[in-house]
Each structure stands twice: as C-alpha cells, then as structure tokens.
C-alpha cells in the first residue's frame, strides 16, 4: 500500500530547476534513499514531502490520513541553553519521555546529562536530536543526512532501528552520502535535473 505518491513534481529556485517531472511512490514498510550531489535538491525534496515547501509544479499526496511523521533535518531543533534532559522534556510528553530517556542512555549521553547542550560535541548534539525520531514511532520517518557526525556504534544502532521500523510497517525517506545498511529504493536526483 502506498503511503506517499509524488506526481511529476518540479522545483525551481532563482530560475534554476533543481529537479523536473519527478514521480515516485513510497510504500508502507519501505524505504526511499534520495541521492545526489551537493545542491541537487535532496533536502528540498524532503521538505516538499513534509509539506513545508511547496513544489513549483506537480503534486505530493499523503494517502493515509493523520499520518504520523517524525523528521530530523539539517537543523537539530536543540535549545543550546538547556541541558539534554530539559530538551527532551520539551519535546516529549510524559508518556513517551521514558522511551526517550532509554534512548538517551543507549546512545551514551548519560554522562553529559547535566551539561548545557551548547557544550556538547557535534556528534552528541546529533544523537540528542535523533532521539526525537527514535523514541517516537511513526508512519513516516524523514531523515536528512542522519549518519553525519555519528560514531560507529550509534550508526549501527540507527541502522538497526530503521530496519526494525520498516519491517514493522513504517516508511522511510532519507538522504545520506553514507550508505545506509537498509534495503531501500534509490532515487538519483541528477537524473531528473534539466541541467
């Protein structure tokens, strides 16, 4: 069953066509790996999928009503002046906070729990931001370069989580220059560029 269909979508910015006549579907329980060089429009395509950005032409349809979506983009949405735990309390309701704290431990962040988030390393901030996705089961997971900055063990943990989520019926759309260890369809954006 398809969760999302993209029908002949194009995106133009500053008179430059990033992609043109792009059509694809993402089925429930499947993954789409969006590939392309820097500036090819991978992040823009993810934002179009999420409804944040409107395509210049074409249409994106979410076929399941009330689809639960989790997303981690380039920006971590972490408040630098708060501790990691305070950040998690902002994101999660009490009912899901336990799961978030569990992931917090599994990702090895317990030793920095009293630090201000601004003092965390890039990788630690990335892990903290990823908990937003890991601790909230969703119908659609959208990730923009999720592996950047992660150490090997965290990368493995993320790969394993994504594979498990897909096998449980979640869909995944991600961009990554680091090859994910999950079975996924590949979409090469350069093939849809007019340049």
């Amino acid at each position: 069953m398809s969760l999302i269909t993209a029908n002949r979508i194009s995106y133009t910015i500053n008179n430059k066509k990033l992609f043109h006549n792009l059509s694809f579907t993402i089925d429930a329980g499947s993954a789409l790996h969006i590939k392309g060089g820097n500036g090819s429009g991978k992040s823009t395509l993810l934002r179009i999928l999420l409804g944040i950005t409107t395509p210049s032409k074409g249409k994106i349809e979410l076929l399941k009503p009330n689809t639960k979506i989790t997303y981690l983009g380039h920006k971590n949405a972490i408040k630098n002046y708060l501790t990691p735990i305070e950040n998690l309390k902002l994101i999660f309701h009490q009912s899901s906070l336990e799961s978030a704290l569990d992931w917090f431990q599994r990702l090895g962040l317990s030793r920095v729990q009293d630090e201000i988030s601004a003092n965390l390393s890039f990788g630690q901030q990335k892990k903290l931001a990823l908990i937003r996705v890991l601790a909230a089961p969703a119908d659609l997971i959208v990730l923009d370069e999720p592996f950047v900055g992660l150490d090997d063990s965290s990368r493995n943990l993320l790969n394993k989580y994504l594979q498990e989520s897909i096998s449980k019926g979640s869909s995944l759309a991600l961009t990554s220059h680091i090859r994910p260890e999950i079975i996924s369809k590949e979409l090469m954006l350069e093939n849809f560029s007019n340049d």
């Binding site: 934002r47 944040i52 983009g73 920006k75 949405a77 408040k79 002046y81 708060l82 305070e86």
Partner: protein, 216 residues
C-alpha cells in the same frame, strides 16, 4: 495547547537575559530620567507619565525583536509545523508567554512609577490593567513585525510596525487622563479589552501565515 504554553514558558524563563534585561532597562530609564534633569525646575507630574509610556513602547519593541528568531534558526519551527500544520497555537503561546513574563512585570513597574505622576494609590490597579492591555496589544503587534523579516534581521519588520503602535499609545494616554479626571474610564477600558481580545485572536493567524512563508 497547554504543553506548548508550558514549553514556551519554560524556555523563556531559562533565558534570563531575554526577560529580565528589558525589565531592568525599564527600571533604569524610569529612575535615571528624573535624575538626569534638574527636577526642581520642572513639574515632573506633567510629563513623567509620557516617559513611562515611551519606556513601555521601547521595551516592548526591544523585547519582541527576536521572538521567533531562535526557533527559526535552530529548526524548531519546522518541527512545530509538522505536528500542528500551522503556527497558531505556537504563536499564541509564545506571545502570551512574553506578555506574562515581560509585559505583566512591565505594567507593574509602570504602575508603581505612575504614583510619581500624581496617580493616587487607589488608582494604581486601573493603571496596571490598562498598561497590561497596552502591552498585550504592543507585543502582538511587534511579534507580527518580527515575523515579517525574521531572516533579514527582525528589527526591520518591527520598525515597520512601529507606526501602528501610535494608536495604542494614544489610547493609553487617553485612558490615563480618564483616570486623572475620573470620567469615561470604563469606555476606554472596554475599547482596550475589545481590541486586546480581537488582536490576540486574529494576530496569531496572520503571524502563522507569515512564518509559513519564511519556511518555504
């Protein structure tokens, strides 16, 4: 909605400089002004209230300048949009939090200092309520200004909305006169309450649309 409000309140409370800074500046201005002139030569009662009003305007202006900037820069706006599909509740919670943590104390400080303007202590609650309503209107207005040019330096947008603050200031001045002369206070108050409710319910819609445009 409660969760969003709690989160916004918690975030602002943690940013001591953002909410305490404007209040300290207001106190400083209101104390420093009479000290900086030879008050024996002037009838302070005649113009001190104008200083309070200008301080109120400037502090509202300054404290709302970066109201959405942090959430825009760190990606929080995108996350809010994904959950809510618009920013109405977010903006409402944000503006009300600013009013609660900055606007209400400002109204308190302004009311206390208005005693210097010859307002009797019995009338202070009226002044407080009026200043609170003015702040509610000003914060909504300047939040809109801030959202207009969020990624180009929000001060530009806030400056653009500054002329729209003049009717609020005129209304506030008129309200103070009604208190001083003891006539027509209820009418001005009703007008301010009505405007406050209207602006507080409509402005988040407009700001929400503006923020969405910036995310595009």
């Amino acid at each position: 909605m409660i969760k969003i409000f709690q989160s916004e309140f918690f975030k602002l409370r943690k940013k001591l400089r953002t909410w305490l800074g404007p209040l300290l500046i207001m106190v400083l201005v209101l104390i420093a002004f009479p000290l900086s002139i030879d008050i024996s030569q002037y009838d302070l009662n005649r113009f001190y209230f104008s200083i309070i009003v200008v301080a109120l305007l400037m502090i509202s202006f300054l404290s709302t300048e970066g109201i959405f900037l942090e959430d825009y820069e760190d990606g929080s706006l995108e996350q809010v949009y994904l959950v809510e599909q618009d920013f109405y509740k977010f903006v409402l919670a944000k503006v009300l939090t600013f009013v609660l943590l900055i606007g209400v104390p400002m109204a308190g400080i302004g009311s206390v200092f208005s005693i210097l303007n010859g307002i009797s202590i019995n009338e202070v609650p009226k002044i407080f309520f009026m200043m609170f309503l003015s702040n509610l209107l000003l914060f909504n207005l300047f939040a809109f200004g801030s959202s207009l040019s969020i990624n180009k330096g929000a001060i530009l947008g806030v400056l653009a909305t500054l002329p729209l603050a003049l009717p609020i200031i005129i209304l506030l001045g008129r309200g103070v006169r009604t208190i001083q002369y003891g006539i027509g206070f209820e009418g001005v108050m009703a007008l301010m309450v009505g405007s406050g409710l209207l602006v507080t319910s409509i402005m988040p819609l407009i700001i929400s649309a503006t923020l969405k445009t910036h995310l595009e």
